[in-house]
């Protein structure tokens, strides 16, 4: 009888042990289902606005209406799911509050994607290109630092032309905009999946104390807590959830808000799989100890 119980116990442990070797294709299939299902069924969860996002929102609210905001686009199609909702939330906020802004891109793909987004939102809100917003076009990433330094001293001379190749000085939005040093820029918003925030802090915030909002992808967000803590950036939108929080502050439920349900379910799946894997691990350890 004892021998039968032992072998049954052993069989149970063996079954649990196999939990630490789940085929990865099963996991991938489960992930696909838990990501797709909330997007199809469209169920929402309440969102709490965290203080870094609130800080970003308040910075734009406080920005004087006669100043220019600069949105720096460093993302491309790879991070479109996180970066585009962030960009669109910022653009929408600026347009709703009738605040002028300029887009500049250091990635060729991002240049086009951000321009298309701004154009679509501008059309929806009745904003005119050249009067309410402008796109300075693409600049090579290798010249980013020199471009930032140039903005500090002479914006029209550094930028020269917009995305359509026309001189920026021919647009009403750029009238009276001389330089960051002159106090003409009220805000820099950097939307990026790479670690380029340090350059804005070193070359713009350092000398001129221009407020900076940082919008990284979720994986790059840990880099932003240092300057956030030090007060070098005024707010941070962390990935898609940051964009969703921002949308809730704007009273909207766009793509980022819908997608946070998928975020929740996928995170839960990872947690469940880790727990299952550890059950298998503990069982195998116990079996080895008993054996």
């Amino acid at each position: 009888m004892e021998r039968q119980n032992q072998s049954r116990g052993d069989r149970i442990l063996q079954a649990f042990e196999s939990l630490q070797h789940i085929d990865r294709r099963v996991m991938y299939a489960l992930l696909a289902i838990v990501v797709a299902f909330p997007l199809i069924r469209n169920f929402r969860q309440p969102l709490v606005v965290t203080w870094p996002v609130q800080g970003a929102y308040d910075t734009i609210e406080k920005m004087p209406a006669d100043k220019l905001a600069i949105i720096d686009i460093l993302w491309d199609s790879g991070t479109i799911a996180e970066s585009r909702p962030q960009t669109e939330a910022l653009i929408r906020h600026l347009m709703i509050r009738n605040k002028k802004f300029a887009i500049v891109a250091f990635m060729p793909q991002g240049n086009k994607l951000a321009y298309d987004s701004a154009k679509a939102i501008g059309k929806e809100l009745g904003k005119v290109y050249g009067k309410d917003w402008i796109d300075w076009g693409y600049r090579p990433g290798g010249a980013m630092i020199q471009f930032m330094m140039g903005l500090g001293r002479d914006i029209p001379g550094t930028v020269k032309s917009d995305i359509e190749g026309k001189p920026v000085t021919s647009y009403p939005i750029m009238q009276g905009v001389k330089s960051i040093k002159n106090g003409d820029v009220g805000l820099i918003a950097e939307v990026t999946p790479s670690g380029t925030l340090d350059y804005w802090i070193a070359f713009v915030y350092g000398p001129y104390r221009t407020p900076i909002i940082y919008c990284p992808t979720a994986v790059m967000a840990p880099e932003g807590y240092n300057p956030l803590d030090a007060g070098q950036i005024k707010g941070m939108l962390t990935g898609m959830k940051g964009a969703a929080e921002y949308e809730s502050l704007l009273g909207r439920k766009d793509f980022a808000t819908r997608a946070t349900s998928s975020l929740s379910t996928s995170h839960l799946l990872i947690i469940v799989l880790i727990i299952i894997g550890n059950i298998g691990y503990i069982s195998s350890r116990r079996r080895r100890r008993e054996g």
Partner: protein, 259 residues
């Protein structure tokens, strides 16, 4: 543009002096000790594994153009290629930048020549894939899968493609050693690679592998420089924690800030 104030200039001078002093003292013949770094020892193990299995090694020098992390990665590439050349093992080097590609090609050719195996050098093993991050990642995934790589060495600056490369390497059963100064990617390498080199161990790699006096001296100098920084941080903590000091000498807390 930021410029130095006097405290920053003094601190920089101290750090530079320490590094240079140790470099020149090492060159004069002083013996220096470095602790064991398992990840760097594992490079030889990875090359040995590839040799035994008769399959190639893939060495990825990161996705940045020619900057400090890439230069460091290329110095590790030289070490790897020299040992691989000795054993007749192929080293495939996919690059993300055309300038890095030309330098990697030169380094590989030199390494094979120095081991007396110029005929083993295959220029097609040094490949420029693409400047685009994910196009590069796809190309590397293709190489890992099609060439059935036995060992995957990833040294240099990486971003989001780090996990793609590391996980694909794991799926094909390759032994993986990674080193990067990109702090955000370290967790991904740790979960998928057999050995990971963190932080300034990456910059210590060339000294560790070559045992060249200049590089060893520089490494020891870095440790002294870090000690100076720790002392400065501790002083800052003390100053910030004593209200009397804050009140009477508030500028002490902003000593290294540009005024």
């Amino acid at each position: 543009m930021e410029h130095a104030n006097i405290p920053i200039a003094v601190l920089e001078a101290v750090l530079v002096f320490l590094i240079l002093y140790k470099i020149f003292s090492a060159r004069r013949g002083r013996q220096l000790y470095i602790r064991r770094i398992p990840g760097l020892n594992a490079i030889d193990e990875a090359i040995g594994r590839a040799t035994e299995m008769g399959r190639p090694i893939m060495f990825s020098p990161g996705i940045r153009p020619l900057d400090l992390p890439t230069l460091q990665a290329l110095s590790i590439l030289r070490h790897v290629t020299k040992i691989a050349a000795k054993y007749g093992t192929r080293v495939i080097v996919p690059t993300c930048d055309s300038v890095v590609y030309t330098i990697a090609e030169e380094i590989s050719k030199d390494a094979y020549n120095s081991e007396g195996r110029p005929e083993q050098f295959n220029p097609d093993d040094i490949r420029y894939l693409s400047d685009d991050q994910f196009a590069y990642a796809s190309g590397c995934v293709g190489i890992l899968t099609r060439e059935k790589v036995a060992s995957s060495l990833m040294f240099g600056a990486f971003f989001a493609e780090a996990l793609i490369l590391a996980e694909t390497g794991h799926n094909v059963g390759a032994m993986q050693v990674a080193g990067t100064p990109s702090t955000t990617q370290i967790p991904f390498f740790i979960t998928s690679c057999d050995y990971t080199i963190i932080g300034d161990e990456f910059y210590a790699a060339s000294a560790y592998l070559s045992r060249e006096p200049t590089l060893l001296g520089s490494l020891v100098g870095q440790d002294y420089a870090k000690a100076v920084l720790i002392i400065v941080v501790l002083l800052g903590i003390v100053i910030a924690s004593i209200p009397w000091l804050n009140h009477h000498y508030p500028s002490l807390l902003t000593l290294f800030s540009k005024t």
